[in-house]
C-alpha cells in the first residue's frame, strides 16, 4: 500500500546477503511513528497515577540503590552524593535495558501483525529502541532537578548526553536484532533475558564506580560495551574526570560489528517470521 502508483514489486526467494531494504523501512516510517505513538499511549493507560509513573519509577529505583548500596554497603561514589552518582548511570542503563527488552521481544508480541500484514519487520525493532526515549527524557529532567537539589551544577559537557544516547540506542538495537529473531524460534529468550540484563547491570559500573575495579582487570572489564557508555554519561552529566576514550572506543567497535552482523542476521531470519511465530 505504500508503494507509489507505478510501483512494481518483485517477489522471489531469498535475495542477496547485503540486500537490507533500508529504503523499504524509510517508506514505512509513518507506521513506525504510529506504533511508537500506540505504545506510549497504552503504557500508562488505566493506571491511576498515569504518566506520573515515568517520574516515580526512576526515583524509586534510585532510592532503593541509595539505601542499600549508598547507606548500608557504603559504596564509594567518587565524591558526589550517592543518589546523583547512581542516577547518572541508572539513566542510560534503564533506557538500554528497556530498549533491549522491547526490541528483543517485540517481534513475538506483534505476532498477529507479522502473520497477517506485510511491512519491514525492522520497524518493530526500531520502535523498540525509540519508544523508551520518552521515559529517558522524563527521567533526565528528574535527574537535573535532583542535581540542583544536591547543589551539583551541570557543565557544558552535558550536551554530550545526546551523542552518547545515540550510541546506547544503536547498541540496544544491535542486540535486539540478534535476539529478536532467536526469540521467534526459541521463546526461552523471553525467560532468560531478565536474568542476563540483571547480571549485566551488576557487571557495569552503575552502583559502584569504575575506580573500584582493580587495574589489571580493567581491560577485560571494558570489553563490556556498557562500561564506556556509562562512564561517558557520568562524565557528561557530573562534569568530573576525563572521558575514557579507550572504553568508548571498545564500545564503538563492538557496536559497529554487532549492528552490521545483526542487520544481516535479522534480514536472513525475517523471511520465515510469518511461518514461525
Amino acid at each position: 500500500m505504500t508503494t507509489s502508483a507505478s510501483a512494481v514489486t518483485d517477489i522471489r526467494p531469498g535475495k542477496g546477503l547485503l540486500d537490507l531494504d533500508l529504503r523499504g523501512v524509510w517508506r514505512y516510517r509513518e507506521l513506525l511513528w504510529i506504533l511508537i505513538g500506540r505504545d506510549l499511549k497504552v503504557l500508562y493507560r488505566q493506571a491511576a497515577l498515569g504518566a506520573a509513573w515515568a517520574i516515580l519509577q526512576p526515583l524509586l529505583a534510585v532510592a532503593i540503590f541509595t539505601v542499600v548500596f549508598g547507606i548500608f554497603a557504603r559504596f564509594s561514589s567518587d565524591g558526589v552524593p550517592y543518589s546523583v552518582f547512581a542516577f547518572s548511570a541508572l539513566l542510560p542503563w534503564t533506557y538500554f535495558s528497556e530498549s533491549v527488552r522491547r526490541s528483543g521481544t517485540g517481534l513475538v508480541n506483534e505476532g498477529d501483525l507479522i502473520r497477517k500484514i506485510y511491512f519491514p519487520r525492522l520497524i518493530i525493532s526500531l520502535a523498540g529502541v525509540i519508544t523508551p526515549l520518552v521515559d529517558f527524557a522524563v527521567a533526565f529532567v528528574v535527574l537535573i532537578g535532583m542535581m540542583l537539589w544536591y547543589g551539583v551544577m551541570p557543565t557544558w559537557q552535558i550536551v554530550m548526553v545526546v551523542p552518547l544516547l545515540l550510541v546506547t540506542g544503536l547498541l540496544a538495537l544491535a542486540i535486539g536484532l540478534w535476539i529478536g529473531p532467536i526469540n521467534v524460534r526459541f521463546r526461552d529468550i523471553k525467560h532468560t533475558l531478565p536474568f542476563i540484563l540483571q547480571v549485566w547491570m551488576y557487571g557495569s559500573p552503575i552502583i559502584y564506580p569504575l575506580s573500584m575495579i582493580p587495574e589489571r582487570w580493567k581491560a577485560l572489564y571494558c570489553l563490556n560495551p556498557m562500561v564506556g557508555i556509562i562512564e561517558g554519561f557520568r562524565w557528561a552529566i557530573l562534569g568530573k574526570g576525563n572521558l575514557d576514550l579507550t572504553a568508548i572506543g571498545i564500545s564503538a567497535v563492538l557496536i559497529v560489528a554487532l549492528l552490521a552482523s545483526g542487520l544481516i542476521f535479522f534480514r536472513r531470519m525475517e523471511r520465515t517470521f510469518a511461518d514461525l511465530i
Binding site: A5, L31, D112
Partner: protein, 430 residues
C-alpha cells in the same frame, strides 16, 4: 480491462517442513551453526526430504489489470499461502512473482487493533498498518465512521466493543483503502447481511475503478457474483484456471465425495461413499432447505470388505469448519449388524434447527464405540433459509417455552406464542 499485467506468477512454490514450522533446530547452537553456514552456501530449494510439504507448488498464472479472480479449493489447498506470498508476508521457496501496482491485502479484518485504544485512535493505527498515510486517513475519517455505523462509541476503548462493532469499525477502515490490487481472504464473511452487502458494494466500487481483485472464499455464491474467472487450487497446484462457472462446477464435483482433508490413510479405508442425496419430506431431491424442515440424507456406500457393527456419522459444518450438528447411528441406538458390498443407508433428521448459511456434509463411519475410522468423505453441501437468524446470532435456534414468574403475573405458561413463528427481537446489535 486493459491488457496490462497486474500480477504475473511464475512457478511459485512454498515449502513447509512438517513437525513444526520451518527448520527443526534442536538448540540455539544448531540454529546459529546453520545460519552461519548458510551465509556461505546458497540454499538448494529443490532438496527433497520425507518430512517436507509443499503448500504451494509450481503455481503460474497471469492476471490482467482490472480482472477479478476467485481463488477456490479445499482447506489446505494453498489459497491462503498464495495470498501470503503475493502480499509479501512470507517469501516463496522458489519461483517468482511480479506485481504491478499498489497492493492492499486484507487477510484478516482487525489485525493490529489495540484493545486499550479508543475507536478513533484505532482508526489511525489500523489505517497505518494497512498502509494508508496519516493525511489519507484524516481526509477519510468522517466517511469511515459513517460507514462503520458506530459513531456514538468512537471515543470508547475498543475492548468495550461487542465483536460485531469491532469488525464493523475495522472493515470500515479497510473499505477506504484504495489499492490498485486488492488481495482478499474470506473477509466478506463477517458481519450480518446488511453489512455483508456493504462489503460487496465496496468490492464492486473498486471493480468500477478498474482495480484488480484476488479473492479467496469458500462461498461459491459470492465468487459467482464477483468474479469472472477462478483459479482452482488442488494440493498446492493450479488445477483449473478459467471461467467461473466451469471452475466452480469442477470444484463442486471434486468436493462431492472427496476424502475429508484431515484423513491421512485415505486409501486404506474399507468403506467408500459412492453417492449422497438430500431429499425433502415430499421425496424431492434438493439443495436448499427451509429452517424447520426435515431432511433425509441418503448414503450409497460400498464396503470393500465385510465390516461388523459400523457406526454411521453425518456431520453438518459451516464453511469456517465449525461443526454445527451431527447424527450418529450408534447414539440413536440404530444397530447395523454388518455391511458388505454395496448398500444404502438413510437418515432422516429432526426438523432442522440450523440458522441461515451454507453447510458442508461429511460422512464418517467408525467402528463401534467411536473406534477406528472406516470412512471419511465429504458429501456435498446445502443451504438453509431462515428469515431472521444467521451465524451472527447462533448456530441453531429452536422454539422454546417462555413464561413469567413475577409476583403479579399468573404463573401459568402461555402457549399464546406457540403459533407465532418468532419472538420479536429488539435490534440489539446496533
Amino acid at each position: 480491462m486493459t491488457n496490462e499485467l497486474a500480477i504475473k506468477a511464475d512457478g511459485l512454490g512454498k515449502r513447509y517442513l512438517l513437525g513444526g514450522a520451518g527448520k527443526n533446530h534442536d538448540s540455539v547452537r544448531d540454529l546459529l551453526v546453520d545460519t552461519v553456514s548458510s551465509v556461505f552456501r546458497r540454499r538448494d530449494p529443490a532438496t527433497n526430504s520425507a518430512s517436507e510439504f509443499w503448500a504451494l507448488n509450481d503455481a503460474s498464472f497471469e492476471i490482467r489489470t482490472g480482472e477479478n479472480v476467485g481463488i477456490i479449493g479445499l482447506n489446505g489447498a494453498g489459497k491462503s499461502t498464495l495470498l501470503k506470498i503475493l502480499s509479501r508476508i512470507t517469501e516463496p521457496t522458489r519461483g517468482r512473482a511480479r506485481i504491478n501496482g499498489r497492493v492492499g491485502a486484507l487477510l484478516e479484518v482487525g489485525t493490529g487493533f489495540h484493545p486499550d485504544l479508543t475507536g478513533r485512535e484505532n482508526v489511525f493505527l489500523y489505517g497505518a498498518i494497512l498502509g494508508m498515510s496519516r493525511q489519507e486517513i484524516t481526509e477519510k475519517f468522517e466517511a469511515i465512521v459513517d460507514f462503520s455505523e458506530i459513531r456514538p462509541f468512537i471515543d470508547t476503548p475498543v475492548k468495550r466493543f461487542s465483536s460485531g462493532m469491532y469488525v464493523r469499525l475495522a472493515f470500515a477502515v479497510a473499505a477506504h483503502l484504495e489499492p490498485e490490487i486488492l488481495l482478499l481472504d474470506e473477509v466478506l464473511a463477517v458481519g450480518d447481511i446488511t453489512f455483508q452487502r456493504k462489503c460487496i458494494d465496496f468490492a464492486k466500487r473498486l471493480q468500477k475503478k478498474n482495480a484488480t481483485i484476488l479473492f479467496v472464499s469458500h462461498n461459491m455464491f459470492t465468487i459467482k457474483t464477483m468474479c469472472t474467472r477462478v483459479i482452482y487450487l488442488k494440493k498446492g497446484k493450479v488445477h483449473f484456471d478459467g471461467p467461473t462457472d466451469e471452475g466452480i462446477k469442477r470444484f463442486e464435483e471434486d468436493c462431492r465425495l472427496a476424502t475429508v482433508p484431515w484423513v491421512k490413510n485415505a486409501k486404506d479405508l474399507p468403506i467408500v461413499v459412492k453417492g449422497v442425496e438430500l431429499v425433502d419430506q415430499a421425496g424431492r431431491e434438493k439443495a436448499v432447505f427451509e429452517h424447520g424442515e426435515r431432511m433425509t440424507v441418503r448414503i450409497q456406500y460400498e464396503a470393500l470388505r465385510p465390516v461388523k457393527t459400523p457406526n454411521f456419522i453425518v456431520v453438518f459444518s459451516r464453511s469456517d469448519e465449525v461443526a454445527c450438528c451431527n447424527y450418529t447411528s450408534e447414539s440413536d441406538k440404530f444397530v447395523i449388524d454388518e455391511v458388505s458390498g454395496k448398500g444404502v443407508i438413510e437418515v432422516q433428521t429432526p426438523p432442522l434447527s440450523l440458522v441461515a448459511d451454507t453447510y458442508n456434509i461429511s460422512i464418517l463411519v467408525r467402528e463401534k464405540g467411536f473406534g477406528e475410522l472406516l470412512c471419511a468423505q465429504l458429501g456435498g453441501s446445502f443451504h438453509i433459509r431462515h428469515p431472521l437468524f444467521d451465524q451472527n446470532f447462533a448456530c441453531s435456534t429452536e422454539q422454546a417455552q417462555w413464561r413469567r414468574i413475577d409476583a403479579d403475573v399468573a404463573a401459568a405458561p402461555s402457549d399464546r406464542n406457540a403459533g407465532e413463528p418468532y419472538l420479536v427481537v429488539a435490534d440489539e446489535r446496533r
